[in-house]
């Protein structure tokens, strides 16, 4: 079952490539079908496991499969699913469907190879979300880069070569540090396996664990991206084709958050508590810096790219707050901003098709020409700036609440981001749709295909904003599992660092319980 989830896009990609030589329409449909099937499969799993996830009667995983791969080095093909990865898988396949739909007409040349890359990138992302063998995780982590590189390099805009190169070198360099971290952990653990459950709870001196944490953090922070390492993102976003941007914004950034929650902090809990203030400072800087720069952009795609940097700040803040409330919030932000940023990129692509520019200076007064477009745009702008009732708000609220328990200072600083986001988001809408009209000719309205994407995005955003409880329930079991201290069977020797880590974790555990209670009361 889990292998199917990974194989569907892989096979779909190859088929689409081969079919495009004979029949162009067939390639579209095969790609769409592969992603729809993956979505349906993930949805089926969700419905099937809903009860189990709420009651968390299951073990650490809902579903697991394991085959030996390179037994000499203790590497196995080990996939596992829990609520957290299931949610992100749903998001992945949904955005996959959207990006196939978004590229439906735009693309004429070399379409088969395009779908091949698109689907393989999605397969890599699915692999990252499912892998619980660290080698396999790293493998998929790297695999998803290569197709994205080709997507940007071949189908991107004017400066695509530079952007593709920058994207690839940044993320690959980060990835290699991640590999060092994994190898270091493997040898310190000394049990000769890359398996997550075995590496969990490895005992090591605090300093060592700090270095390894730093390696992991570098790997994930480049992808997230955390502010000093973010410079590839605006370029990659601007130059990528629409579909690539959708995937980048919605997924690539999110898997980094997933990696942090799933691997980085559980593997190095003690070092993470010491590192938290640094990371949270970076997060707050990211929130404010991203928002300020977004305000100054004239290129639409760059603008949205900076808003995602700002959002990612909340994600990082929530991760390092490391309690149930904040982690739930992080997952909600990831999903909601994945949907809203994805939808915005689709809209930007649609607008670019019609007026041939992404430059804010050359827009204005478009509302009378594109009323449908404008309305949808306004909706997602509101979702981005965190209007209550829409998806983003709940997540950011939960993160702030969770952070407040840990550090009121960082939480209050982060709220500045809310004010700034209103400023940049409204400026964007004003510049595009209001003011002196930039053109008089009539423009084609949104097509049925575009409406289908937008309608599903709007419904989902509303649902997340008004009744997020199903999502929270799904994640609850996984979050609780993640917050648990490492299994005691491995903790035979206690050093200072371990003791402190256990203290921290048990503290956060009890705190989590009371927060969960609060959450249940506070929410309908």
């Amino acid at each position: 079952m889990l292998v199917c989830l990974m194989l569907l896009p892989i096979i779909g990609g190859v088929l689409a490539w081969l079919l495009s030589r004979w029949n162009r329409a067939a390639a579209h449909w095969v790609a769409l079908l592969a992603m729809l099937l993956q979505f349906a499969l993930a949805l089926g799993l969700w419905i099937h496991f809903r009860a189990a996830m709420r009651l968390s009667t299951h073990g650490p995983w809902l579903l697991e499969c394991r085959y030996p791969w390179i037994p000499q080095a203790g590497i196995s093909f080990h996939l596992a699913l829990d609520g957290m990865s299931l949610l992100l898988l749903l998001l992945t396949s949904l955005l996959g469907v959207w990006s196939v739909l978004a590229s439906w007409q735009r693309l004429q040349a070399r379409m088969g190879f395009f779908y091949f890359n698109l689907l393989w990138a999605l397969a890599g992302i699915s692999g990252v979300l499912l892998a619980v063998d660290l080698f396999l995780f790293y493998f998929c982590w790297e695999v998803m880069l290569i197709p994205l590189f080709f997507l940007i390099d071949i189908w991107g805009n004017e400066k695509r070569h530079e952007a593709a190169m920058k994207f690839f070198i940044f993320t690959q360099a980060g990835g290699l540090f991640l590999l060092i971290g994994i190898l270091g952990l493997y040898f310190i653990n000394g049990r000769g396996s890359f398996d997550y459950s075995i590496l969990l709870g490895t005992h090591m001196p605090l300093l060592t664990s700090g270095w390894l944490l730093l390696c992991f953090f570098l790997g994930f922070a480049v992808k997230l991206p955390v502010v000093p390492l973010h410079t590839w993102l605006p370029d990659a976003h601007t130059q990528a084709p629409v579909d690539g941007s959708v995937d980048l914004a919605g997924l690539v950034l999110k898997v980094a958050a997933y990696g942090m929650i799933r691997f980085m902090i559980p593997l190095f809990p003690a070092a993470a508590t010491y590192f938290a203030p640094v990371a949270m400072t970076l997060a707050v800087i990211g929130i404010i810096y991203g928002a300020l720069l977004a305000f100054a952009q004239t290129d639409l795609k760059r603008l949205v790219a900076y808003t995602s940097i700002s959002h990612v700040g909340f994600v990082l803040l929530g991760i390092f707050a490391w309690n149930g409330l904040a982690l739930q919030g992080v997952l909600l932000i990831v999903i909601a901003s994945g949907i809203s940023a994805g939808a915005l990129f689709v809209l930007i692509g649609a607008l670019h098709d019609r007026i041939g520019t992404r430059d804010l200076e050359r827009m204005g007064g478009l509302w009378p020409r594109l009323p449908g477009h404008g309305g949808v745009w306004l909706f997602f702008t509101m979702a981005t700036l965190g209007l209550p009732g829409l998806g983003g708000f709940i997540g950011e609220f939960l993160v702030l609440q969770g952070t407040f328990h840990v550090s009121p200072l960082f939480a209050s600083l982060a709220t500045i981001g809310f004010i700034l986001s209103v400023v940049y988001a409204l400026r964007m809408v004003l510049r595009i749709f209001f003011g002196p009209p930039s053109r008089q000719d009539s423009l084609p309205a949104l097509s049925g295909r575009e409406w289908a994407v937008m309608a599903s995005a709007i419904l989902l955003t509303l649902w997340l904003g008004l009744y997020p409880q199903p999502v929270l329930d799904t994640a609850a079991g996984a979050v609780r599992q993640t917050l648990l201290p490492a299994p005691s069977s491995y903790s035979c020797s206690y050093s200072n660092s371990n003791a402190s880590s256990h203290r921290v974790l048990s503290r956060s555990k009890s705190r989590m319980k009371e927060q969960e209670k609060m959450m249940k009361e506070g929410r309908p």
Binding site: R110, F139, V143, H161, A164, A173, L183, F187
Partner: protein, 486 residues
């Protein structure tokens, strides 16, 4: 000398016989196809004869059985594994030469004779267990290479490359000889096992021996093109005909690495600080200089030359590690590198016209839209060199890091990682050039029609590269079983 010994040495004997047969055949029938067929036949039967040699080893019961054939040669599973790899690589080079030389007007039959002789030298190198056989085999290989490099005489670049390699390689051989003499003067033995016995006895710290070993390392570094003994490699790679370059990059490198492992592993260089420092400096300098010089390269063959410098530097990282994983990682990485570089030069050879080799980066611009499969294969080769997953290069690099981390060589491991990131830049530049839109490429190149033989060889290599990238377990297992005995 019994029949057992003869059977054990069958691969060497068959290669030598084939060289003689080919020489005689050229004297009577000057037909390109015939000579190619004879060469292939010889190489394939040598490959098959490995099975009989392996059979003899298996009969000796112990898994690490070895057979000392005369004081000079040494047959064990390690030698057989490397021979197998070298023979497969040699067969690929023969296939690439076939269509490459057909395109060049002129006398092409002797190239195969030289190829066989160089191949014989390389194979003998793998079997050697004595300074005498080491030196003889190395010279046999090098002398044949001089002529192979300068083979297309009409091209002044070829001649220049040949002379350059001749002079520098002779200098390296002189260093090597002098080093051997010094070691012999101090220890009084010339066989590898004898020297290893001295090392085990802890008498390897004499200053004469250390200087001698240093000189031997210098000589080997010349052959492997490690910084600072690497200045010949870009010119020679660029000047030599593509099949000859492919041979140097795969077979010649592989044989020298085999000797390096065979000679230095039993010496436990980890316990000898001077040698450890020396090798670390060689590794670090090769990684950095190779990568930095490749960054702005506009010539693909030169770029691959610089990349080979840095790749040999990577390889030394695992070489300095200890334990079974060190030799395993070195061997796996070497095989991965051989497959990859053969594929890369195979594409270069297939694209090269009669006038000149496809070398300028401009020749490759927009290749993906003219020859999608060739471009796909070339980009797979480049991605494998860069060490990206799904390719064998990724597993190779992972094993290097694995071995390095296991021996806590953290500095070298981190430097390897930094260099991999630098290396990405120039590999990706070529990949980007391959996929540039036709309107962006300035010079449309006339690509020669390449033969079915090329296609088969390239396809086979690509499949092996991807297969081992996904399922390396079998090969790792084999290598581990084999290097345990060294």
């Amino acid at each position: 000398m019994t029949t057992t010994f003869l059977f054990a040495l069958l691969p060497l004997i068959i290669l030598a016989l084939t060289a003689i047969v080919v020489m005689l055949a050229i004297a009577f029938w000057r037909r390109h196809r015939l000579i190619v067929a004879l060469t292939l036949l010889g190489q394939l039967s040598a490959l098959a004869s490995i099975a009989s040699a392996a059979h003899i080893l298996v009969d000796r019961a112990s898994p690490y059985a070895t057979l000392q054939v005369t004081p000079l040669l040494f047959v064990d599973s390690f030698a057989l594994l490397y021979t197998m790899a070298l023979l497969i690589a040699g067969i690929m080079v023969t296939l690439f030469s076939n269509s490459y030389l057909e395109r060049h007007v002129g006398i092409s039959e002797e190239f195969y004779l030289l190829l066989l002789l160089a191949h014989l030298g390389a194979t003998a190198l793998v079997f050697s267990n004595h300074f005498a056989s080491f030196f003889l085999a190395l010279e046999l290989m090098s002398v044949s290479l001089y002529a192979m490099i300068a083979y297309v005489r009409g091209n002044p670049l070829n001649i220049e490359a040949g002379i350059k390699y001749l002079v520098l390689s002779s200098v390296a051989s002189a260093f090597l000889l002098f080093g051997m003499a010094l070691v012999y003067a101090d220890l009084g033995v010339m066989s590898f096992t004898g020297i290893a016995a001295h090392a085990a006895g802890g008498t390897l710290s004499g200053s004469l021996t250390l200087v001698g070993l240093g000189l031997i390392i210098t000589g080997i570094s010349f052959k492997l093109a490690l910084v600072p003994f690497s200045f010949w490699i870009p010119d020679v790679y660029q000047g030599a005909p593509a099949p000859a370059t492919a041979f140097m990059a795969s077979v010649a490198k592989g044989a020298v690495i085999a000797v390096l492992l065979r000679f230095f592993l039993p010496l436990h260089i980890q316990h000898s600080p001077p040698l450890l420092v020396l090798f670390s400096i060689l590794a670090i300098a090769s990684m950095f200089i190779g990568n930095l010089l490749a960054l702005r390269q506009q010539h693909v063959k030169r770029l691959l030359a610089y990349s080979s410098i840095s790749n040999m530097g990577y390889l030394l990282v695992a070489f300095l590690a200890s334990g079974v994983w060190a030799a395993t990682a070195v061997t796996f990485f070497l095989f991965a590198y051989m497959i990859t570089i053969l594929l890369a030069f195979g594409v270069v050879a297939a694209l090269s016209g009669a006038q000149r080799d496809a070398d300028a980066l401009d020749d490759y611009r927009g290749l993906a839209w003219r020859h999608p499969w060739l471009a796909a294969i070339f980009s797979i080769a480049l991605l494998s060199l860069a060490g990206l997953p799904l390719t064998v290069g990724f597993i190779g690099k992972f094993l290097l890091l694995f071995a390095g981390a296991q021996s806590h060589l953290w500095l070298l491991v981190v430097l390897l990682v930094v260099n991999s990131a630098i290396g990405l830049f120039y590999y990706l530049r070529v990949v980007i050039a391959l996929y540039q839109h036709p309107e962006e490429s300035s010079t449309p190149i006339t690509v020669p029609s390449f033969s079915a033989v090329d296609t088969v060889a390239l396809a086979a290599l690509t499949l092996v590269l991807l297969w081992l990238g996904l399922f390396p377990g079998f090969l790792i297992h084999l290598i581990q079983a084999v290097v345990g005995g060294v």
